[in-house]
C-alpha cells in the first residue's frame, strides 16, 4: 500500500478508536480496538519516521489520557509492560542462545525481594538501627543495583549448570526457581529475612520527584491518580530501554555469537566463539532484565509474597515467547501483550458479558428447539476460570499451524 495513504489510514483509525475509548471508558471492546492501533502501526507500510511518531502519539499521549479517565486501562498496560519486559529477557536466553530455561521467574523474584526487603521495614528485622524503609529515591539505586545482582545470580547459576544441555538444563533451572521460592517461603527463621509466606508490605513506592514541577504549573493531581500514570511511564521506559539494549546486542558480534551457539554449538566453537562465556553472558543479560522488572513489580504491588513467583509464572512467560516467535523481539512483545490482554481483558470481559446475559432474564427462542432462558446458562461457564485451558488450546493450535510463532525472526532485517 502507498505509504502516505497508510499513514492517513492509521491516523484516522487511531483518532477514531481513541475517541471511541474516550466516550466509552467502561467498554473492553473499545479499549481493545485502541490497543490494536499499535499492532496496525507495526504492520502498516507507512514510513518508519511516521510509524515512530504515531507510536509515540499512542504510547506517550493518548494512552495516558485514556488511563486518566479509567485507571484500569493503566493497570492493564503496566501489567502488559511487565510481561513484555520478562518475555524480552527470556527471549534472549531461549530465543537467542537457545537454552531452555523453565525457572526464569527466579530472577524476577530476586529483584522483587531485593527492593521489598530494603524498601520496607522488613530489613529492620536483621539490620539494627531502624534505617528502613529506605527513602523512596533509593528505588532508582536499587533498580540499577538489581541489574548487577540479577546478572551475578545468572552467572552463579550458569557456571555449574551450563554444561548441561536441552532437557537437563531445563530441569535444573526449574529446580533453581523452586529453590528460590522455597527459600523466600522459609527464610523467616532463624533470622527473619523474607517474612515467609506472610509476605512483605508496605513496600516503598518510587519518589514523585516531578510533583513540584506539576504544582508550579498549577496542576493539582492526587497521588492516587498520579501513581498509576507514573508506573505506566516507568514500565514504558524500562521496556523501551530493554528493547534498545536487545536490538543493539542482537545486531552485534555478541548477538551473532548467541545465535550461532543456538544453531550449532560445535561449529560456533570452531569459529572461535568462547561458547561457555557467551552462554553465561546471555544468561546474565536475561536475568538482569527480569531482576530489574522485579524491583518495579514490588514497588507497584506494595505487597509481595512467594505466591507471585510460582512455576506457572515461568511457564506463562515461556509460552508468551513461544507464541510470539522465539528469537524475535517484535514476537516477544506481541506474544506477551496478546497473552496478557487475553487473560486480563478478553476472558474477564467474556465472563462479565455472560453474567449480564444471565441477569437480564431474557428468553431466547431457538427455531424448532423451543425457548431457552438465558438465566439458565450454567454458572460453571465462566471463561475467566478457563484461563489455563484457553492458553493450552492456543499453544496446541500454534504448534500445529504456526510452530515458528506469530512473528518469527525475519531475514530481511538481518542483512
Amino acid at each position: 500500500m502507498n505509504p502516505s495513504l497508510a499513514s492517513i489510514g492509521l491516523l484516522v483509525y487511531i483518532t477514531g478508536s481513541s475517541i471511541l475509548a474516550y466516550l466509552h471508558p467502561q467498554s473492553t471492546l473499545a479499549f481493545l480496538l485502541f490497543e490494536a492501533s499499535l499492532l496496525l502501526i507495526y504492520y502498516s507500510s507507512a514510513r518508519p519516521g511516521v510509524k515512530f511518531m504515531l507510536g509515540a502519539l499512542v504510547l506517550l499521549v493518548l494512552m495516558p489520557i485514556l488511563g486518566f479517565i479509567n485507571a484500569y486501562y493503566l493497570e492493564i498496560s503496566v501489567e502488559v509492560g511487565i510481561y513484555v519486559a520478562l518475555a524480552l529477557g527470556l527471549n534472549i536466553v531461549v530465543g537467542f542462545v537457545g537454552l531452555l530455561n523453565l525457572g526464569f521467574v527466579a530472577f524476577y523474584a530476586i529483584g522483587a525481594y531485593l527492593w521489598a526487603i530494603f524498601g520496607s521495614p522488613q530489613a529492620n528485622e536483621f539490620i539494627a538501627g531502624g534505617f528502613f524503609p529506605l527513602a523512596s529515591y533509593w528505588f532508582f539505586v536499587f533498580l540499577i543495583l538489581s541489574i548487577a545482582i540479577g546478572a551475578a545470580t545468572g552467572v552463579l547459576l550458569g557456571l555449574p549448570v551450563l554444561r548441561l544441555r536441552g532437557d537437563y538444563l531445563a530441569v535444573v533451572t526449574l529446580g533453581f526457581a523452586e529453590v528460590v521460592r522455597a527459600l523466600v517461603n522459609n527464610l523467616d527463621k532463624p533470622i527473619n529475612l523474607t517474612n515467609g509466606p506472610k509476605g512483605i508490605s508496605p513496600i516503598e513506592k518510587p519518589p514523585l520527584f516531578f510533583q513540584p514541577v506539576l504544582e508550579f504549573f498549577g496542576i493539582q493531581v492526587t497521588t492516587a491518580k498520579l501513581y498509576p500514570l507514573y508506573f505506566y511511564f516507568l514500565v514504558l521506559f524500562l521496556v523501551l530501554g530493554i528493547i534498545l539494549v536487545t536490538r543493539r546486542l542482537e545486531d552485534s558480534r555478541i548477538g551473532r555469537a548467541w545465535k550461532a551457539i543456538r544453531e550449532d554449538e560445535l561449529a560456533a566453537a570452531a569459529m572461535g566463539i568462547p561458547v561457555v562465556r557467551m552462554k553465561l553472558f546471555g544468561f546474565a543479560v536475561g536475568a538482569s532484565f527480569a531482576s530489574a522488572v522485579g524491583v518495579l513489580f514490588a514497588a507497584k504491588q506494595v505487597f509481595i509474597n512467594p505466591e507471585s513467583f510460582t512455576f506457572m509464572e515461568s511457564i506463562g512467560v515461556l509460552a508468551m515467547v513461544i507464541v510470539g516467535g522465539m528469537g524475535s523481539v517484535p514476537g516477544a512483545v506481541l506474544g506477551a501483550t496478546g497473552v496478557t490482554i487475553l487473560n486480563l481483558q478478553l476472558l474477564k470481559g467474556l465472563s462479565l458479558w455472560l453474567n449480564s446475559l444471565r441477569q437480564s432474564g431474557a428468553i431466547v427462542s431457538i427455531p424448532f428447539l423451543g425457548s431457552y432462558a438465558l438465566s439458565q446458562i450454567p454458572a460453571q461457564l465462566e471463561p475467566a476460570k478457563y484461563e489455563r485451558m484457553v492458553f493450552g488450546l492456543i499453544l496446541i493450535v500454534m504448534m500445529i499451524f504456526r510452530p515458528q510463532g506469530i512473528l518469527p525472526p525475519r531475514q530481511d532485517q538481518r542483512k
Binding site: 552485534s252 545465535k259 560445535l266 566453537a269 569459529m271 572461535g272 568462547p274
Partner: protein, 261 residues
C-alpha cells in the same frame, strides 16, 4: 618451515585405535591432502587437531606452539579454521551472518561500545560486513547474502562453509571433503578457488578428499591413513604407485594386481 607438525599423535575410542602414532607435517605455502579408506581416522585427525577431542598421546605443534589441551575456540584463535564433512552451517541465520560469525574473534567490540553504538563500533561493523561481502563474492555466493543458510543448494552450502572458515582469517585451512556430492565441473571450480586462496588468504591448506582426480590435481603432498596409521606420504605420483596404498584401497591378491595396471 613447518607450519603444522603432528608428532606421534594417538587417539583411542574404547577398543578402537582411531589414530596410532601419526606423524604429519604441513609446510608453509602447501596444499596437503589426507586420504584413506572410510574409517581410516581422517576426520578424527581433524577433530583432534581442532580440539574437539583431546589426544591421548602425542604433540601438536602449530607455528612453534603446542595446541594440545586448548579448546576449539582457542585453536581457531591460534590460526586454524575448518569446514565440516557433514555441513554444519548456522541454518537459521543469513548467509552474511554466517560469514560474520566467522569474524567474531577479529572484531573486539566491547559491550559498552555495542550498547552505546559508538562511531568506532559502527565503523567496525561496517568494515566486517564489507570483508564478509568480499568473501561471499570470492566463493561465488554474491546475491545470496540475505538468504537463510538452509535455503542454499548443497554445493552453495559447501562454499559458504569455506567462506565462513576464511572469515576467521586462518593461517591453516582444514577442509573436510569439500567436494563430496559434487559433480566434476563443480569440483573443478572449487579446486581453482582453493588454489587462489593459497597465498592471499591462507598460508597452507590441509584437505581430506575422496575424489582422487581432485587430490592428484591439486596436492603438493599426500598423506595416506589406514586403520589410524599413516601408511604412506609423498608426492601424488609416488603415492599412486605405492603398493601399500593400493592394498589399503583395493585389498591384496590377484585382482588388486589387475586393477593396478
Amino acid at each position: 618451515m613447518a607450519l603444522l607438525e603432528l608428532r606421534e599423535l594417538s587417539k583411542r575410542f574404547g577398543g578402537l585405535q582411531a589414530l596410532a602414532r601419526v606423524n604429519l607435517t604441513v609446510e608453509d605455502g602447501m596444499i596437503a591432502s589426507l586420504i584413506g579408506p572410510n574409517g581410516a581416522g581422517k576426520t578424527t585427525l581433524f577433530n583432534t587437531l581442532t580440539g574437539i577431542y583431546p589426544p591421548d598421546e602425542g604433540e601438536i605443534q602449530f607455528r612453534d606452539r603446542s595446541l594440545v589441551g586448548l579448546k576449539p575456540d582457542r585453536i581457531t584463535h591460534a590460526g586454524i579454521s575448518r569446514t565440516f564433512q557433514n555441513i554444519r552451517l548456522f541454518s537459521h541465520m543469513t548467509v552474511l551472518e554466517n560469514v560474520l560469525v566467522g569474524m567474531h574473534l577479529h572484531m573486539h567490540t566491547g559491550l559498552a561500545e555495542i550498547l552505546l553504538r559508538t562511531k568506532h563500533s559502527q565503523a567496525r561493523e561496517k568494515d566486517a560486513r564489507h570483508k564478509a561481502m568480499e568473501l561471499i563474492e570470492l566463493t561465488g555466493l554474491a546475491g545470496r547474502e540475505g538468504e537463510w543458510a538452509h535455503q542454499l543448494s548443497y554445493g552453495e552450502q559447501r562454499r559458504l562453509e569455506v567462506a565462513r572458515a576464511l572469515a576467521a582469517q586462518p593461517k591453516l585451512l582444514l577442509l573436510d571433503e569439500p567436494t563430496a556430492g559434487m559433480n566434476t565441473t563443480e569440483a573443478q571450480s572449487l579446486m581453482t578457488l582453493f588454489r587462489q586462496l593459497l597465498g592471499p588468504y591462507v598460508q597452507a591448506i590441509l584437505l581430506i578428499e575422496h575424489n582422487m582426480r581432485v587430490v592428484m590435481g591439486i596436492s603438493h603432498r599426500v598423506h595416506v591413513l589406514d586403520y589410524g596409521e599413516k601408511i604412506a606420504e609423498g608426492h601424488p605420483d609416488e603415492v599412486r604407485q605405492d603398493p601399500r596404498v593400493i592394498e589399503a584401497y583395493l585389498g591384496h591378491g590377484v585382482w588388486a594386481g589387475n586393477a593396478q595396471s
